[in-house]
Symmetry: C2
Subunit: 265 residues, 2 copies
Amino acid sequence: MKKQSTPPVILITNDDSIFAPGIHALVNAVRPLGKIIVVAPDKAQSGMGHAITIGQPIRLQKYDGFGPDVEAYQCSGTPVDCVKIAVANILPAKPTICVSGINHGANHSINVIYSGTMSAAVEAAVEDIPSIGFSLLDYSWDADFSHVEKYIREIVSAVLKSKKLKNYCLNVNIPAKTKQAIKGIKVCRQANAKYQERFDERKDPHGKKYYWLTGEFVNFDKGKDTDVAALKNNYISVVPVQFDLTNYPHTNHTKKLLENIHEEG
Amino acid sequence: MKKQSTPPVILITNDDSIFAPGIHALVNAVRPLGKIIVVAPDKAQSGMGHAITIGQPIRLQKYDGFGPDVEAYQCSGTPVDCVKIAVANILPAKPTICVSGINHGANHSINVIYSGTMSAAVEAAVEDIPSIGFSLLDYSWDADFSHVEKYIREIVSAVLKSKKLKNYCLNVNIPAKTKQAIKGIKVCRQANAKYQERFDERKDPHGKKYYWLTGEFVNFDKGKDTDVAALKNNYISVVPVQFDLTNYPHTNHTKKLLENIHEEG
């Protein structure tokens, strides 16, 4: 790896687009910590997961909405594309850290696999760039981010100061602003939860059916050590995230299952 | 869970679209094993990862290309949308199994996080439907699938007969057809590999820049127990896949890192 420059170079992206208040709050939160470069989608890309753009080219355009001290680009691709093109074509060397968000809405538990914000952070970790995805439990465009900046600055600062772990990635979810102060930070595991989907069937003006994805969040996990539990108790949840999807506990069962399939079976 | 019907109900999807030869080969491979229902994208959705369609509705249309014994729908959504709408709106009960593919191209190692084919399988596992994603190491539309059907039928049959593990998902990659016969099946772990990206910069006829994502595959993993190693030696690789992304080994480090951030820090 190339030697990091001083001060730290902080790559910022998200999935709600470069125009979202959340990414502007994130830039403000970490601005004192280093040189900021933003590469973020030019339109909402929520729920894009780890999608990349293969079948068509992508576009980049300079964006000056963060002021003269922040180099910023809006990108026509997905959040993961933004990280890829930032690392491959825009930055002269790998950034010191990548921070993604602040997402307008929760990315705890199963949401981590759907979230473009978290997938961008995971993509940075694949590149061995320490990364943190930040999400606020408030889906509103006008969400109040005033209580989060201090925490974000301290978390990013702590990661910048610490020993660098390989492929390090954190999923940070922050309770929405209420009258009650946030109680603190809990390092957690991903809760075992999912969405119970329902597709809302409608008819267009021409009589043809179409479907809207809707669903109820269902938490199967009674554990007190989960992100969902921490957030419910007004803590910030922090889950370290990996991208080795191997299900090691299922390995032996699978070996037995397949041992009778032979070459000429 | 609702009781499963007999014979098994096999939900089939992919990411190369319902028109891809790979999904037709997959239907042929498993047709003797149960009742087939296909819900697959109406256009190529490679690299869509775990994307879902949130901002717009999706469409479904009956498709008769698999013959009269196969109920099939083409869907305007992502591979994950296909699984969601199949389970929520099309099937009267959860299918016995979900198989995805056969992908035109490898989904070993890091590809699992980008692949729509594998994300569809993972989505089924989230629904606790046993699932298997199949991929052939041949990107060609005219890929030769003649050597894979026997293996696929036997793997699916073995999973159907076995004890049901919770959230069970397999990532199966199959060597491309060559003169050498496949040596057998190896249950593996996901290799630690990534793409070294390069964005190819071009100018459109109006002088504006655009970028094509390209990249070289880089395998950092010398392990003999990886999917990449198995495939290199002409074995079918099988990796059990999970969706708990918690990086447990990074938990203690993260706790220490953040322990000095307090409420009024």
